[in-house]
Amino acid sequence: MALLSKKDSKLVLDPLADNNPITIQVLGICSALAITAELKAAVVMALSVLFVLSMGNVAISLLRNIIPSKIRIIVQLVVVAALVIIVDQVLKAFAYELSKTLSVFVGLIITNCIIMGRFEAFALGNGPKKAFLDGIGNALGYGIILVIVGFFRELLGSGTLFGFKVLGDPVTKTGLYSIGYENNGFMIIPPAALIVLGIIIWVQRSKNRALIEEA
């Protein structure tokens, strides 16, 4: 990429796969379990985190030299909280139904370990451009996993994708349902997300054996 130097593009691309915040660092599992029963919610959650993490990273990076290190966690929390409130209000204004499904989990972005983790580990020690790219990369890495999990859970659990009945109608028995197919109720409940996530981690590690930790 001509737009970004090699080092910078690594900041964006690394968290997508080999240093993924969910599958490798195992952070942010809570929200991955809670809101991935529907693809739509997963996408909105991913976008919200993208906004909060990239903007927050920039803000913290700009402030990094004037934040007294003793109160840095509080400052970080104020920044996240401000951004999360913006996201929450925008959702309530323009996508009220969706904000109800996401309910408390938008607010809980504040406690998402990925965000505090990036602030602490990256934004406090790097310039705003790098911090921005790092935020984008990590949020996308988070989002990708959310969308993959959401895709399988919604498809197998409800037979829909973004609310569209891709497998036919279970009530009037069209499509796959006419030959006796039924939705898998297990996929709707949160433990299924853990298992789908586990399978993703399994696939990823068996493709790239360097990721397997020493036992």
Partner: protein, 418 residues
């Protein structure tokens, strides 16, 4: 034949498919290779013998299940026979045929998919196929309703074998009982096929009707009826004991389960401690519930009233409690290993089975959930039993008079156990 297979084995040595071939080979014959050096004792009770013994104990339940499937269907259509006779009403060819055509496919799918996955993993990982699935594959058709669609079973078996067993490292490494994992998956994924009054009789879900009327047939398990609050049961205690009641395929006949249990105990395959303590646990919980009802603490309009006032010993006669305690809780891999641990483990399984059974709002049965829960806790129980033993011995050491270098021994023992 045997010689030919040995020759074939030489040919396949080191090839990719070798484990798959060896599995079939050793299934029929003893391998032609033996250890050459040193003294070895060859035990006759290898893994394969163990597995086959359990299967042998399960076969009566399976055969009975086939007859019962036909009997339940016939009775649902024509009404239960007035003067029940074992040979005219139950052990008939037509009953057996209904059972055979519905249950045999379940067995075939269970073994086909499960063993297929085992072979696949053996070939990929390059280790030998283990016999662990032989029992699981037999248990699975026995703990599900007769009308479970085959594709659901196939998915559940794949899930149970891969997620429940292979990811942990295969036979002997699994935390959860694979057969129960399969059942739990079915239960949570397709609850309408695993509970209610339409799944226990073959054809009820498909809309079979009663003779001479347009009413659809149905059949409720005893527990299902109790959970609905009907205290008047259509089955007598002896029906429950002999197993002429609706239920999962192999769980109904308590007398055959009892025979299986005795067989397993005397062949020393299953732990009698787990079985006895499991029975005690369920009786204890049942007694507590009965006591609460007798003391008048529970109003009669409570939705738990009928299940809680159900005589404590009859809990063992209905549902899958007896089957679970005898054939699932005694799984040597997922259960506790220490003797005292087995008592605790079994007791809690029985205790919690009855508790979940009574309080589960969606489904009046809890044996599989209780056993899975205790599977998770089994290593913890063992851990504390072992710690307890160590502590006791250390205490004994303190008061004991030890003749050579007492102080050294205490220290080295302490570092060993710290």
């Amino acid at each position: 034949m045997k010689e030919k297979l040995h020759q074939l084995k030489q040919k396949y040595e080191g090839k990719k498919m070798a484990p798959a071939f060896n599995a079939l080979h050793t299934f029929l014959y003893t391998p032609n290779e033996t250890t050459h050096s040193g003294a070895h004792v060859r035990g006759a009770d290898d893994l394969k013998r163990t597995m086959n013994t359990v299967i042998l104990a399960l076969v009566p339940c399976l055969i009975f299940g086939m007859f019962n499937a036909g009997y339940q269907q016939y009775s649902a259509i024509n009404g239960f026979p007035e003067n029940f006779s074992l040979f005219d009403d139950f052990l008939t060819w037509s009953n057996f045929l209904v059972g055979l055509t519905t249950i045999l496919p379940l067995v075939i799918v269970s073994y086909g998919i499960g063993l297929g996955i085992e072979f696949l993993f053996a070939v990929i990982k390059g280790h030998e196929v283990e016999e662990g699935y032989l029992v699981t594959g037999m248990l699975v058709p026995l703990i599900i309703p007769v009308d479970t669609p085959l594709w659901m079973l196939a998915i559940a078996v794949a899930f149970g074998v891969i997620i429940g067993k292979e990811v942990f490292g295969g036979t002997g490494m699994n935390i959860l009982n694979p057969a129960l994992t399969i059942r739990a998956f079915l239960f949570f994924a397709y609850p309408t096929w695993m509970s209610g009054d339409k799944v226990w009789v073959h054809g009820a879900k498909a809309g079979l009707t009663q003779a001479g009327s347009t009413d659809a047939i149905s059949g409720e398990t005893v527990l299902g009826a109790l959970a609905q609050g009907s205290s008047h049961l259509s089955f007598s205690v002896s029906d429950m004991f002999y197993g002429f009641i609706p239920g999962s395929v192999g769980e109904t006949s308590k007398i055959l389960i009892l025979l299986g249990a005795l067989f397993l105990i005397f062949s020393k395959i299953a732990s009698w401690r787990i079985i006895v303590s499991g029975v005690l646990g369920s009786l204890a919980m049942g007694l507590i519930f009965n006591g609460i009802v007798d003391a008048g603490w529970l109003p009669t309009y409570s939705k738990f009233y009928t299940l809680m006032s159900f005589p404590y010993w009859q809990h063992l006669l209905v549902g899958g409690l007896a089957f679970g305690i005898v054939f699932m809780a005694t799984d040597p891999v997922t259960g506790s290993q220490t003797n005292r641990g087995k008592w605790i483990y079994g007791f809690l399984i029985g205790f919690m089975s009855v508790m979940i059974r009574v309080f589960n709002p969606g489904y009046p049965e809890g044996v599989f959930l209780a056993i899975l829960l205790m599977n998770v806790f089994a290593p913890t129980i063992d851990h504390y039993v072992v710690r307890g033993n160590i502590k006791k011995r250390l205490r004994r050491l303190k008061t004991a008079t030890i003749y050579p270098q007492a102080s050294d021994e205490v220290d080295s023992l302490k570092t060993e156990t710290a």
